[in-house]
Amino acid sequence: MVTFEEISPADFFYRNRDIAGFTNPARAIFSSVRELMENALDASELTRIPPEIYIRLSDEGESGPEAAIWLRVMDNGSGVPARHVPSAFGQVLFGSKFKLKQARGTFGLGGKMAILYGQITTHKPASVASSTGTSKIYEYKLMIDIQRNRPIILDRKIRVNEERWHGTVVEFCLEGDYIRAMPKILEYLKQTAVVNPYANITFVDPKGRLYKFTRVTTKMPPPPKETLPHPYGVDVETIQRLTSITECRNMLDFMRTHFHRVGENISLSFLEFAGFIRTTDPKKMTPEDVTRLVQAMQSFKEFPKEVDVETIQRLTSITECRNMLDFMRTHFPEVQGSVFLRLLQIAGFIRTKDPRKLEPDEIVRLVRMMKRFKGFLPPDASCLSPLGEELLEAGILKELNPEFIAVYQRKPSTYSGHPFIVEIAIAYGGNVPKKGDFAMYRFANRIPLLYDEVSDVSWKIIKSINWRRYKVTPDMPIAILVHLCSTKVPYKTVGKEFIADRPEVKREILNGLREVARQLQRFLSRREHVEKQRRRLVTISKYLPKIAAYSTELAEKEKPPDVEKLLKGVKKFEED
């Protein structure tokens, strides 16, 4: 007998924790640190105050692969309003990030997954303290009711916030294997420091070792703006939701109000293209209609001035057209394109449906046409928050201290209606590890991606480049950094570890890489040249005096010829 039951989102993730990155005790502790770290960084984006983040892992004397470990993360971010604290930390898929702007988290899942994982492995409540900078700090002890996806508040305290502290402290216990997770955690923190050079990050591990990543700047990149969906990127469900909440009463307003970079003209062209425009039958125009039309025409310089009511009336009597658009196009063939739509709109001949009354098949058609229409502007990138070349360089210099660095930010681009920006850096020498292959640092929306490197699109692109063309050999200490920011990062999995091969994304990464590789090539050539000249000077200084001495003996001269001039010439060559 088959039984059917509904499970809550919390229950779903409880049963499928692998997909969110909680596969084993080592991975779980890494994912927990990472999720809470990202929440902390996102919280400080809002306040524009350079983040101070403190992470502490402590065990209770036991160690080994399944030890219970306390994780405490404290930030100086915006804080969570008291009434949202229980849900924000105790209800899966509740969050503030379901909007169209770049953010580290996207699923409203990570932090809660960590707490959920802690709960199911140690059955201890999580503590959360937060303040938005008001006079009060709220402290909660919470557990998650997994079956109902609801927070259970075990304790709640309010304390006086004398210093007007703002931020959040989360602490909970989970089963984890720190020894195995350690390399990844440290690598994660280091890479996070690279792309957050304005953050102070402090980490204390279970052995009491302190790791500090100190900021080198207080400048933060401009915050991303929230944005409307781009027509290329929406689906039927999105339109459905929009039609049910919109206050617009016609399609023209609907398009202009709810979509990114869609104005009146584009709306008109698109709706005509998609077949959502109806106009009057010219034969049925009232005298008022004709007058309005003529007045409108006179305000457009594209139409001949001598057109008057009589002209139009004569045309309506002979025309075979059954709508105004055809009518205008047929009888004013010398006038171009989109003017007609604007004219008819001004004259009030354009009628579109009330979006709230769209039939399901019309919504499907609308979405399909949106994908086909070529006239939409590409999304602009103001909703993105790339790091910028200056900060990226500062971050890399701080953590890798390379001999050479080239950074490059590509112009915004889009895939499937989602804007994205690729930032690329290449670093040579210094503390860049020399491991027989490039050290690769991948980031998406300022999150380091550490797992499944070889599945990532960047890895494939790097491997496809003929590096010898850039004078690069595999034994060189070279690090390549790829940062992709987007309102929707094309991850291949929920675990957010690698980026899919979107052709648009691929092209941007490739072009960016070529640019920095060219700069590296110039550096390497220059270095090679200087090195060659230096060796040349050493060699010539060694041998030329000998040639002079033996020649003097052979020629039976008194004193050797002056070769200093020749040597000086070589030195000068080096300074060029």
Binding site: R535, R536, T539, I540, Y543, L544, K546, I547, A548, Y550, S551, T552, E553, L554, A555, E556, K557, P561, D562, V563, K565, L566
Partner: protein
Amino acid sequence: MKKIKSSAMERKKEVLASLTNFGARLYDQMEEGVFPWIKMPSRSIENILYSPELRQYILGDKTVRRSAQNIRHIRPFTQLVWGAYFAKELAKHRKTSTLRDVYYSAQAYDVPFKDQPESNNIITDLETTVGFAREDFNVFPEERSAVFGDLTIEYTVPGYEGRQLNLTSHPDGVLIGPALTSAEFVETTADKVIAIEKGGLFTRFIEELVHKKFNALLVLTAGQAPRATRHFLHRLNKELDLPVHIFTDGDPWGMHIAMVIISGSANAAHLRELTTPDAKWSGVWATDIVDYKLPSDHLTEVDVKRLYELQRDPRYEGELWQREVKTFLKIKRKAEQEAFSRYGLTYIVDEYLPAKLE
């Protein structure tokens, strides 16, 4: 008794002058503020040509320029200048040296060679640049060839200047070393030279008084003749006007020993006076193997391959050579000089030699 004009002393002066000039040229270049450079004939394979007039290999018109400005050239360039300096010191102090000795001496002057071939190559460069053989700079290979017969020579080497020696003085023959090479010829009663490939036969000839019976000087080449020996034969031929007969084993290798004495080698294409174009290869020929019914061995694969090479060699264009190569290939057999012993110990001297010297 004909008047003998010797060239040994003259030549020493020329060598010294040319080394001095070489140094002066580089000295002047540096004084003028340019990196010293030299130009010399290229010794690459494509620049080695056979000259029918001179009947030896010569270098063509291609030259190479070596400059101290070129970072790849400066080290060998320095070694070359040192080589010239070292050669001049040897010549001035009338000391001799060997190629091995040159290699080690360089280390004392802080211009070390990587290995023996590098050092040898620099000496060859010096020969090419200055136009004299290394023996003229008193750099000799290890010696193993000898001469015996009625020729009186006068030493020019330090401590022996003016001392004369008749080359019949020692029954084993006299080593053709630096001292003999630089000696002046005083007088001789011989009217021919017989060059012999192998030591055993050389000794037999002395014992059988071949030098007296045939009025000849006997020269042991000891296999492929060293350059000093080739030059010595050249001098005997040129200065004393003596015809040269060469006796070798009857195989492609023996045949080529004779050819190198006559027409020289490609390796020495930059040098002159090492060849004796009028010398005759008198045996053992392939046709001798047939005519004298000599005990013989089968040609090996390597022998046959070598014969085909020689057949195409420009030095082998002559009728005799082509005939003998063909005969070897036809009978597919070879014989050593000792093969005549089947007819008794003196047969070669009593029967064969007179016939061949006709």
